[in-house]
Subunit: 140 residues, 2 copies
DNA sequence: GCTTGACCTCAAGTTGACTTGAATTCGCAG
DNA sequence: CTGCGAATTCAAGTCAACTTGAGGTCAAGC
């Protein structure tokens, strides 16, 4: 059957009950009903929790995630806002790739000062270019 | 000339002076010296701040970033630790791409319930697969 | 030579995201 | 029924990452 109580949701998602209640307070998730006092969750909740965790990893705040997911399962945001978020995400992804490259570079490059190494310099030039746009979304 | 005082660093990096002082306390950056009481920064500081901001965006804590950057500009971590971090970053990047795809999907897909839409379902199956590994690094 | 504005220190406050604890209350196993 | 483990509420606590404020210093321009 498909009805889960809070402990099962916690076990399957890895998110503790206290956090699930907190998320409910914040409007991120909602039980499908109650049995007595006990919250009963549908299986879509697990999916939502996955999306919430991805959103957090992307640096969105809980209120932002709540908007993107919408109370009902459909976003609260207009299409172009969603695309704008996706665009932000694209920039974010590029920055992380750059960081990844940089990390691998410093792990492997034998040059004792990276400031001398041309491939490090190239990474840093790119980093500087992407740096300009940091925090744009957060500040709107 | 290449010596900056805290206000100039703040202006060029967008990081407020209070935060620069806080970062110094946390061992993330250091002035090249003082003129009287005033901190004097070299231009490498701007680069470090770029890397710090990328590290934060990737979800690393300030102490983790401090290790990766090292006090001297060279990482405090062994090569394989750095590669492990880069690998984590790769997983993180994949999750963000998935979120990006999902966002664009819900922005554009006309199906009134995404649960019905096969391409949404496909995204969610992938999401579930990546979900398992969440927070691995954080928990070590 | 004195004012002014940018800087300083240090302690305390704030915010977001949770967690913890105390005091109940269910609901199912025996 | 009875007991007990899993849930519940609500207030308070915690932690990381900063910010703010009070009170002081300093050097550069008028």
């Amino acid at each position: 059957m498909k009805i889960l109580d809070i402990g099962e949701v916690a076990a399957q998602s890895g998110v503790p009950p206290s956090t699930l209640r907190y998320y409910e307070e914040q409007g991120l998730i909602a039980p499908i009903g109650r049995k007595g006092l006990r919250r009963q969750y549908g299986p879509q909740t697990l999916l939502r929790l996955t999306l919430i965790s991805m959103g957090k990893a992307a640096g969105f705040s809980l209120p932002e995630i709540a908007q993107m997911l919408g109370a009902d399962g459909h976003p609260d945001l207009p299409r172009d806002e969603l695309h704008a978020r996706a665009d932000d995400l694209g920039r974010q992804i590029r920055r992380l790739q750059l960081l990844q490259d940089t990390l691998r570079h410093v792990a492997d490059c034998p040059a004792s000062s990276h400031l001398d190494c041309p491939s490090f310099q190239k990474l840093m030039r790119q980093a500087e270019r992407t740096a300009a746009r940091v925090g744009k979304r957060a500040s709107r």
